[in-house]
Symmetry: C2
Subunit: 399 residues, 2 copies
């Protein structure tokens, strides 16, 4: 079976390597040998083994009926969307790591794939090497999925871990992440939560079986988290983690991305550094945690390779991913019930304690400040109540 | 689509409940409604809704061409093996939680299913609700699986957790587990490691793609673990966990079940109480952890229901699980390299430290005893070297 790879960046070269490195076992599992016939990239790679199969024109690949499966690992919406649509309409299955495209056009592309008897797979779009997509679509299928909460961005988890371990300031931890190659030079998509938001949109859509847009997912990043907050959280027995949280209730779905205080009794507390962890709650199975490397060349490439093998093994028998183009019924925003961590001026403390209630006292090392956990209330009430005070930090609590 | 359930015990009644409770979502995912036409059990259940579909004679079910899928949740080899074979030969797919049968006859039953264009699925046989089997067979397929290490028995994990938390003696913790319904009245299969051994045989066979028999898996239970050992391990920063450990190297596979010291940097350290955790290492994806409830009525039933849905969705298009009836090439026993925890008489301490090397000193609360971690060596060397001493405990270290 002949395949092509769109894009020879980090993931693309990883897919090329994995297909070659594990060719024997892949042939056995796919039921036939898999060969990379073309790699599409605008650039040249002199001296690289890819040269023999490198092409600059997508039409060479689309026009070749021998190519049955394409790994789209270019990233971005354009031209990936156009290329993917054309490939699917020609009956070529497409396997991708492109979370931006999947979040925005997944439902539509799945629909096109179905109409043309081929597959659109996207295991690598969430959680890198963690098999969360196929687990949701093919494994936990006897369950009604009630909740998904996950650490789905390794960069921010690394930054928060380093802030917690060594008391680093956010800027210092970010710089360290960049120096170690865990954050990009322009880190906005990670630290502002956009990357996690895209993944949340994909997970929420699969949980609901209908379209959840990024725009429907309130998102807060970690830029405002201070070393002081991390220390206060520690004094409360908690860590701060950037979570995506998806809940389903009465046929309505809600999704958000925000920092949360997480306690030691939650498995996500133990998901540190660049690792990802996704906790899925089904009404029969209860909690299942998936943990692993959420990014990186080989883990992501391994997930794309897994998709390619599934597409090859069941070529002509498309799988049926339930993700309709209809909009999901979203729960009203601000209806989430939970506790909050607040840090505020000592002068507000007595009144704030009375109004918000206190369920745990933290210790702030800064003179003139107090930190505590409030009682359980909904988001709207909380935000109304704190208007009277000079709140320095407010972070949701995951109980 | 009509199905039947063989056995109306804990898991069987759970499958019955899940199929009814989640019928809408199951119909959507399977692409057709799924209805339980028969439940097979020798007993009567007066007043139970199952009465309407209860039969005592397996032939009623096997002879009914309307029944396409069977959930075999009887347990044991006989008559489950005979019933399963007959069902598969009639082209009826079988989904099971019966780890004893899968470990002993899985390869053969998969072969029969292939020959009769149906499926033999066994997601619930390892890790209860954790989708480890399908992840190995359909998700991590781009990877060469190098290692699997797992806590696959919830009963022993509960006992070891309670011993560690409250310093309970083994017998006291076992009694508590029995009182809470986490251990059976005859706990031998759990505490002696037989249950974990069966699961290890299934995982090792899937990792190797060939048959690994229980007899090829050296197995030690937890009966000899003392409160003293747990306390010494704690002083070394470790917990004691019953692990199954499967390694693949140069086309050879090794598997064992034994207590290990596990440190905090390993995710399995955080898998406590009745939970299971399975850490899979692929050569591309690296470490992926699967965590969840390894037993219990609904988690196990959820996994069986997931299999039923997959079997229904792809009815007539059997999946291809690679597990040949040929024996896997096993590595020589005793070749495993690792450190050991030893506890011994003070009088032997000086000589033992010299012979075994010391990499960490534990503190034993018992007068006249010492505990430490040795240097890395293979099992055969270790066992030869300790012959000279009165070793009170020896436990492998997972580094």
């Amino acid at each position: 079976m002949k395949i092509a790879i769109f894009g020879f960046g980090t993931v693309g070269s990883g897919v090329f390597d994995v297909i070659n490195m594990n060719s024997d076992i892949i042939a056995k599992r796919a039921g036939k040998p898999i060969e990379v016939k073309y790699v599409l990239d605008l650039r040249d790679f002199p001296g690289n083994p890819v040269e023999k199969v490198l092409v600059h024109d997508v039409n060479v690949i689309l026009d070749d009926p021998e190519v049955k499966i394409i790994a789209e690992v270019m990233g971005g919406i354009n031209p990936a969307l156009d290329f993917t649509k054309r490939a699917l309409m020609l009956g070529k299955s497409v396997c991708t790591s492109n979370k931006e495209l999947v979040a925005a056009h997944g439902a539509e592309l799945i629909q096109i794939a179905k109409e043309h008897n081929c597959d659109y797979y996207f295991e690598a779009s969430v959680g890198g090497g963690i098999p969360i997509i196929r687990s949701l679509c093919d494994c936990l299928v006897g369950d009604d999925i009630i909740e998904i909460k996950g650490i789905v961005n390794g960069t921010t988890n690394y930054i928060l871990t380093r802030m917690g371990e060594d008391g680093l300031a956010f800027d210092v931890a970010l710089k360290e992440a960049q120096d170690n190659g865990y954050a990009e030079r322009n880190p906005a998509a990670d630290i502002e939560g956009t990357d996690a938001q895209r993944k949340a949109a994909i997970l929420a859509s699969l949980a609901a079986g209908a379209q959840v847009d990024c725009a429907d997912i309130p998102t807060e990043g970690i830029c405002d988290i201070t070393a002081e907050d991390i220390a206060c959280a520690k004094s409360l027995g908690a860590k701060i983690k950037l979570l995506c949280n998806i809940r389903r209730d009465d046929e309505k779905v809600s999704a958000m991305v925000a920092p949360f205080l997480v306690f030691e009794n939650c498995q996500l507390y133990h998901v540190n550094n660049v690792f990802n962890g996704i906790l899925v709650t089904g009404n029969a199975t209860g909690d299942v945690l998936f943990y692993g490397k959420g990014a990186g060349k080989l883990p992501t490439a391994g997930a794309v390779a897994g998709d390619i093998i599934e597409a090859a093994k069941y070529y002509g028998i498309p799988s049926d991913i339930i993700w309709s183009t209809e909009k999901a019924h979203m729960a009203a925003q601000g209806s989430r019930l939970g506790r909050y961590y607040v840090r505020l001026d000592e002068k507000d403390a007595m009144e704030a304690r009375k109004v918000l209630g206190v369920t745990a006292e933290g210790s702030s090392s800064k003179a003139g400040e107090v930190a505590f956990l409030t009682e359980t209330m909904n988001e709207k009430d909380f935000n109304d109540k704190i208007k009277a005070f000079n709140v320095l930090s407010k972070i949701r609590v995951y109980d």
